[in-house]
């Protein structure tokens, strides 16, 4: 009997037919292992496949002599083998990752209303631009004279982002939003030091992203929380109370994570400035403001942007992102090195910046991502970006209105780019936010952000973005309304959800209690 292991759906048992030694035919289907899963095929780990000697690569020809490695390097420099590494044909690899991809849900699959993540459409032309040889194959240490176009592009993009935010100078170096935050907080520390001051605390509202708090800690500041008011925004009076000469500044997100514009930001900035502090803005939610308001006009001293949110570059299943930091001229001397400058007709890197916080990354930021944002800004123009913000806000308000009858809306007033509901109405049927989210999956939607912001118990935070059509929103509203009804009439459907997926709900407690973070080769 031969077990024929064909990766995917079938694990079949074969038997050699008597008298025909080379022919095989399926005898039975091993029940329990074979499942009619359609395109959601089972797929083992890459390490559980393949065979000794199978290859999926080709190398350039050996046009020089191969060195005798054992003669060149002492034996204790050398490894025995690449234990556990796969041995697969090219098609094995292609099928494996194609199958994995089919278990994933992206913006291209459907509506992805993940709040504060701005899951807008990722234009395909941008991907092609980033793959152009004259960008993708260029070494970061290529002499400046050969990369004038690239440097020009970076300077231009920095300028566009400064214009959009109302700032004076922008560095493209931070690799992600949190990296931009860290860069900004380090610059504030440096700016205070240059004044001979050392401050201890940073004010962060209770609606803030978790990164704001952890960034402050990494930058050696203690976090002081500001309670937002009944309208979901920061009351200036609270800032006044907490602000003193020991406070380095405030980190605000505008619009905030409840989807509200921080109406008193200008006044708050004035309070913070009066005591010598700085105003840091988390620009994760800039998608509501392009061409509407410049954050710089509200007294913001620095703001990071998430190119992978507002400027349409893809999230990649968790990066790479890009988190440029735009600052006012007062803070510009502290920007990380290098800064790109134009002298005469020539662009060059300037490393000679005595006040700079230094380097934050080996090279100059996630250029490949920045390129896509550059292409996006050119595709949209000023008019298009403004239209994007307007439609993003229109979509969020439409969604809010459409769901208000079925779900609890803790802050019932017009929102900006996102809106936050709760599971309060469903609680009495023993249905939670998690259940609602999982049931959405059965209907083919990606759930909203759940249990965030922390100020709202059982939060469902929804950001539709401007690229979603009215029909798409209508379908979502219809589905959510149906789910609310299910919660009343057949709540088990929610608690059991999702069922139409590759895997059902997963045991996260077990994963954390006995971490299994890798496959281990058989010895």
């Amino acid at each position: 009997m031969v077990i024929c292991h064909s990766f995917g759906i079938w694990i079949l048992t074969f038997e050699l037919l008597e008298g025909t030694p080379n022919a095989v035919c399926p005898r039975e289907i091993t029940m329990g292992k074979t499942r009619d899963t359609g395109l959601l095929q089972d797929e083992p780990l890459i390490f559980e496949q393949g065979g000794e000697g199978r290859r999926g690569y080709s190398l350039p020809q050996w046009d020089i002599e191969e060195v005798e490695v054992n003669r060149l390097l002492p034996s204790h420099f050398l490894r025995k083998e690449l234990e556990g590494f796969p041995q697969l044909s090219e098609m094995d690899v292609v099928r494996h990752f194609t199958r994995l991809s089919q278990w994933n849900y992206g913006v291209d699959n459907g509506f992805y209303p993940l709040g504060s993540c701005t899951m807008k459409y990722n234009p395909k032309i941008n991907e092609e631009v980033a793959r152009m040889k004259g960008f993708a194959h260029i070494h970061p240490y290529q002499p400046e004279s050969l990369v004038q176009g690239i440097l020009k592009l970076m300077v231009e993009l920095g300028g566009f982002l400064s214009e959009i935010t109302g700032m004076d100078q922008t560095t493209l170096q931070p690799a992600a939003g949190a990296h931009g935050e860290l860069t900004g907080m380090m610059m504030i520390r440096a700016a205070l030091q240059a004044r001979g001051e050392k401050r201890k605390r940073v004010l962060v509202p209770d609606t803030a992203h978790g990164t704001n708090c952890s960034t402050s800690t990494v930058a050696s500041y203690q976090v002081v929380e500001i309670k937002s008011n009944e309208r979901g925004i920061i009351p200036p009076r609270k800032v006044e109370e907490l602000m003193d000469e020991e406070v380095a500044g405030i980190m605000v997100t505008n619009p905030n994570t409840l989807g509200f514009f921080e109406e008193h930001l200008a006044e708050i900035a004035e309070i913070v400035h009066r005591k010598g502090g700085f105003v840091y803005c988390d620009g994760a939610n800039l998608n509501a403001l392009m061409g509407i308001v410049k954050l710089g006009d509200l007294g913001v001293d620095m703001v990071h942007l998430n190119l992978h949110k507002t400027f349409s570059t893809p999230h990649g299943g968790g990066g790479p992102g890009s988190g440029p930091l735009a600052v006012k001229s007062e803070l510009a001397p502290f920007l990380p090195v290098p800064v790109i400058e134009k002298e005469g007709g020539t662009y060059r890197f300037n490393f000679d910046r005595p006040k700079s916080i230094g380097r934050i990354k080996a090279f100059y930021g996630n250029f490949g991502v920045a390129l896509k944002a550059y292409a996006y800004i050119f595709s949209m123009g000023a008019e298009g970006l403004k239209r994007a913000s307007e439609m993003a806000v229109l979509n969020a308000n439409y969604l809010m209105k459409g769901l208000k009858g079925s779900f609890d809306l803790p802050y019932d007033r017009p929102c900006m780019h996102e809106c936050v509901f709760t599971d309060r109405h469903q609680e009495k049927h023993h249905v939670s936010t998690l259940d609602i989210a999982k049931r959405l999956i059965d209907y083919g939607f990606h759930p909203p952000t759940i249990y965030f912001p922390l100020v709202v118990k059982g939060a469902l935070m929804m950001e539709p973005t401007e690229t979603e059509s009215k029909e798409g929103l209508d379908r979502f509203i219809e589905t959510m309304t149906a789910i609310a009804k299910e919660a009343e009439e057949n709540s088990d459907l929610l608690r059991q959800a999702p069922t139409k997926v590759k895997v059902r709900r997963l045991d996260e407690v077990r994963a954390a209690r006995k971490p299994k973070l890798r496959w281990i080769p058989n010895k």
Binding site: L59, D63, H96, K152, A175, H308, A362, N366, W519
Partner: protein
């Protein structure tokens, strides 16, 4: 004129219907909460909008020429199999967010689990995170982690690690809490001075950082270093910028290393003028809860079926806020996927053969370079795919002459090491055909005459 509308689906009729449903008269009304005085009164000063063909024409004008290249120094020109970009272009992968909803993210999660396994196997360590921004920031996070574990102040850093990595560490640490002490390199051998290192080891040392292959391409002898560090109660951190070397080199994990932080760009990720790259981070099980970054773990679903989830999130910013081990959120997920596809294709045999080819090509280049008058190999220690050489002449002028022949001949080191002011770091990979190496040598010889 309204080319941007290809990304915004709303018709005028849609807008009117939606406004009506919301109960407002105009778009303007939706922005009523923004104080009037702060509203922009004129359009942003931006170019565009451009159509696709016009955009392509515009960006083409900014592309750089591609020359025959002998530069590396932390970013390497390797061949990327077509499979890598094809699979990474599956938009189910690249248009997804961080896998917070595991039931519809098993593709990303299983791929990262496989990535974590490959990184452990490559470096000989027990656990890997799901990636960091790049090699430099990964190393800086390793330094912060060592400080969390030991509570000690001093970081001994080999002068032969990538100079940019050194600078990033300097930026990340709080000078009141930690200080960097440089360990010199041996001027003849080009590797870290072990004796000097031993002298610096004391009860204040949090960690020792050595890169192998180091910035000069030299393979460090790590066999006897770990014991002394551990005796002094410090941690041993190994970093690297050329991951391909570990196709043949002994994995750091077999030498008692505590943390490995490396750059994974060589594993199927394009040069892209410096990013996005891939920060590798591996360590041992006992340090799991001090690790920065995301982790994917195996578990089972309700029906007992294998599945994967993000786990140990209690270390992370979205749960722990100000008490998190790091502030990292978005990492380099797609780059990790690319590395996983790349290594799956190359596999056990391919990565080794590729490493041997790099080593052999660089040895060939060393041989031809050492025959050139006015050109001398600087260090005697064994190297991987790059090496330092001194030339009799101004490096900038010599390189300029090569450039006119379409060759980027090496990286001048004066910017990083003032004492190496007539020196070039030369990198040779599988992408440099013998013919190219010969032409490089010929042009170099001419330029040095």
């Amino acid at each position: 004129m309204e080319d941007y509308l290809r990304y915004i689906p709303h018709t005028e009729e849609d807008v009117q219907k939606m406004l009506k449903a919301i109960g407002v008269k105009s778009i303007e009304d939706l922005f009523g909460n923004i104080p009037k005085g702060h509203r922009l009164s004129k359009p942003l000063g931006l170019p565009g909008p451009l159509s696709e063909p016009d955009l392509i024409r515009h960006v083409q004008s900014l592309e750089s020429p591609i020359l025959t290249s002998f530069i590396g120094g932390g970013a390497y020109h390797h061949f990327i199999p077509a499979v890598v970009s094809h699979l990474a272009s599956r938009s189910e992968f690249y248009t997804a967010y961080t896998p917070y909803q595991p039931e519809i993210s098993q593709g990303t999660l299983q791929a990262i689990f496989e990535y974590q396994t490959l990184m452990c196997q490559l470096t000989g360590m027990e656990v890997s995170n799901a990636s960091m921004y790049d090699g430099a920031s990964s190393l800086a996070e390793a330094v912060l982690m060592a400080h969390r574990i030991t509570g000690r102040k001093k970081i001994l850093v080999s002068e032969a690690i990538h100079p940019e990595y050194r600078k990033v560490i300097q930026t990340y640490i709080d000078p009141e809490e930690q200080e960097v002490v440089l360990i010199p390199y041996l001027k003849k051998e080009g590797r870290t001075n072990e004796k000097a290192l031993a002298q610096f080891l004391d009860q204040d040392v949090s960690a020792v950082i050595i890169q192998s292959p180091n910035f000069f391409g030299v393979i460090e002898d790590l066999k006897n270093i770990g014991e002394g560090i551990h005796k002094a109660g410090g941690l041993m951190i190994i970093c690297f910028s050329e991951a391909i070397a570990y196709g043949i080199l002994k994995p750091p994990g077999e030498m008692g290393v505590d943390i490995v932080a490396g750059e994974g760009q060589s594993l199927g990720i394009p040069l892209s003028f410096g990013g996005p790259y891939l920060g590798l981070f591996t360590t041992n099980e006992k340090f799991i809860r001090n690790m920065p970054g995301r982790l994917v773990g195996e578990t089972v679903d309700l029906e007992g079926k294998r599945g994967f989830v993000l786990t140990l999130a209690t270390r992370e910013q979205h749960i722990r806020r100000e008490k998190a081990t790091s502030n990292i959120c978005t990492n380099e997920g797609l780059c990790a996927l690319m590395a996983t596809v790349y290594l799956s294709c190359l596999g056990k045999k391919g990565l080794r053969e590729l490493a041997l080819m790099n080593l052999s090509k660089a040895e060939y280049a060393k041989k031809v370079a050492s025959r050139i008058k006015g050109c001398r190999l600087t260090f005697s220690s064994p190297t991987f795919n790059e090496f330092v050489m001194e030339i009799e002449g101004d490096p900038e002028k010599v390189l300029e002459r090569l450039r006119r022949e379409g060759i980027v001949g090496g990286l001048p080191l004066a910017r990083f090491y003032p004492e190496l002011n007539r020196h070039l770091l030369v990198t040779v990979t599988e992408m440099n055909a013998r013919q190219e190496i010969d032409r490089w040598a010929k042009e170099l010889e001419k330029a040095l005459k």
